[in-house]
Amino acid sequence: MQNEEMYQLLIKMKEGDQQAFHTMYDATFQDVYRTVSFLVDHKQDREDVMNEIYMQMWTSLANYDTNRPFQFWLHGLVIRQVQRFRVKSWRRFRIFERIRAFSHDESYLDEHTALMDGTNQMISQSIRELTDKQRTVIIFRFYHDYTLEEIATLLDIPLGTVKSRYHAGLQALRKNIGNLPVERMEKINDY
């Protein structure tokens, strides 16, 4: 959808046009949900983050820079809410450290990863094992195809920092995925 069109929809939505809300939601929720799922492991947390992102949409429309693509603004909202959530969950983690230590591993894998074959599960697992900061860069680079410069703008951090997170992340993945047994590698090369 065109930027201008999206912006008009947002304005209408903010003024109370329910139809505009539905159009906007339908056009965005898959992308938002998938991005959030890559970045946030727990199901309930994803739900909270999603809700926050959309609530931000109608409260912070004033910050929308019409010169930039709509998608970019949307992903900015996603990133900020995910980061906010991480700060919160870190605090929670300190308190419930022990409890979570038990349930932690289990939550990494949910239905869709369970359905994947061994190799894909391993890539998935490796990405999830990256640090949050590395993971964010990897997802926006490879899932959304942003340039490293764009990621720097989105995250509001220097380009050098993005580069080092990117390389460290890639290094870690290379180590894990590169260690796959030979027959599995062939399977990956098939497609």
């Binding site: 329910q18 809300f21 739900e47 999603m50 990405i127 990897i138």
Partner: protein, 356 residues
């Protein structure tokens, strides 16, 4: 295959398997409807605020708003504190006040006046009393009462907090608590109301507006109280229930609904005169016509339209809280004449142009 490509393909493939659970969509939809509900009541409050300021400007001489013409036609006659105590409305007002805030019994009446109809001395529109604490602390209370029904239309409580810790410096919760208490003492039943507190865009002085509305009703549908907190004072006035008729935003400006003329055009008698529903009128205005043009197409003269709206407005200005004040026909006609220029301006306005 490079590792980069591998990751990219894997991510896209994995994404395909991720479906957003319906529960999430449901929840977001709910959040949106909550947002809408809040927003709708804000609009009503803003509209109400405009109306409230107009009423304040007309009937409350102490208000710091530009004095409109209407007030000049009513005369304000000073009276002594003895006269207040002998007057029926005065007695009733003081009793209410003493019951609500017993410490005011020791206050002295430093000023009192009647706002009346110069053509008819029995028509007393409004009684105003200012009381002050004896001694140096400066606690002060100003009351405006409907001269006929005894209802307190407006109360301003000043300097109740020590100067070094003025009301406005307290936390939102504390301010709200003080206002709650004041309403409860004066009018009771605070539990039936819910409050929305909002800081106003006032660059010169921090000002809060608190809108108390009946629980479960939208905006001021069921009546309520509107309160301003500024400096070291609380200014409180009851709001009459608002009939839920008419439409919002008859005109538009910069692509947004413009509520400026709503209080003039949401007039049952006007709809009857034009034989149109509010919705139809709004649709016609949206085409860029003026109210005068719409009336003309129905063989209704401009003067007829003016008379209908001006009468409603004049009568509205004499109305407070829940009751109406009656004045002589002669004075009403005068008031209508004074309001006429404003009415003409509204009915000659076209949508998407600036208001003068």
């Amino acid at each position: 295959m490079t590792i980069e490509r591998k990751i990219r393909e894997h991510l896209h493939e994995e994404a395909q398997t991720m479906e957003c659970p319906p529960a999430i969509s449901k929840r977001i939809e709910q959040s949106y409807s909550h947002y809408l509900q809040r927003k709708r009541s804000e609009i009503t409050m803003k509209k109400r605020l405009i109306g409230g300021l107009v009423a304040a400007a007309i009937l409350i001489p102490t208000a710091a708003f530009a004095s409109p013409v209407v007030i000049d036609m009513l005369t304000r006659a000073p009276i002594t504190s003895e006269q207040v105590k002998l007057d029926e409305a005065g007695k009733a007002t003081l009793e209410k006040l003493y019951r609500a805030i017993p410490e005011t019994k020791s206050f002295e009446i430093i000023e009192a006046s009647y706002l009346g109809d110069p053509n008819d001395s029995t028509k007393k529109v409004q009684l105003s009393i200012v009381l002050q604490e004896k001694g140096g602390t400066g606690k002060k209370i100003t009351l405006h009462t409907n001269g006929i029904t005894d209802e307190i239309q407006d109360l301003t409580q000043e300097n109740w907090e020590p100067k070094e810790k003025a009301l406005i410096t307290l936390s939102d919760q504390e301010i709200k608590g003080k206002v709650d208490q004041l309403i409860d003492k004066l009018y009771g039943n605070i539990k039936d109301y819910e409050v929305a507190m909002e800081q106003m865009d006032n660059p010169n002085q921090k000002t809060f507006i608190l809108n108390y509305t009946k629980k479960g009703s939208e905006g001021f549908e069921g009546g309520g109280y509107q309160v301003f907190v500024q400096g070291n004072s609380i200014s409180l006035s009851p709001v009459a229930p608002e009939p839920n008729t008419g439409v919002e935003g008859y005109f538009s400006l910069n692509g947004k609904p413009d509520y400026t003329a709503d209080s003039f055009l949401n007039d049952e008698k006007l709809f009857a005169l034009l034989k149109m529903s509010p919705k139809e009128l709004k649709e016609e205005l949206a085409k860029g016509k003026t109210v005068v043009e719409i009336a003309a197409s129905k063989n209704i003269s401009k003067q007829q339209v003016i008379d209908v709206i001006a009468r409603t407005q004049a009568e509205g200005q004499l109305q407070d809280g829940k009751n109406k004040v009656t004045i002589s026909d002669e004075l009403l006609k005068q008031m209508m004449k004074e309001i006429e220029p404003k009415v003409v301006h509204v009915i000659e306005h076209k949508t998407e142009t600036e208001w003068k």
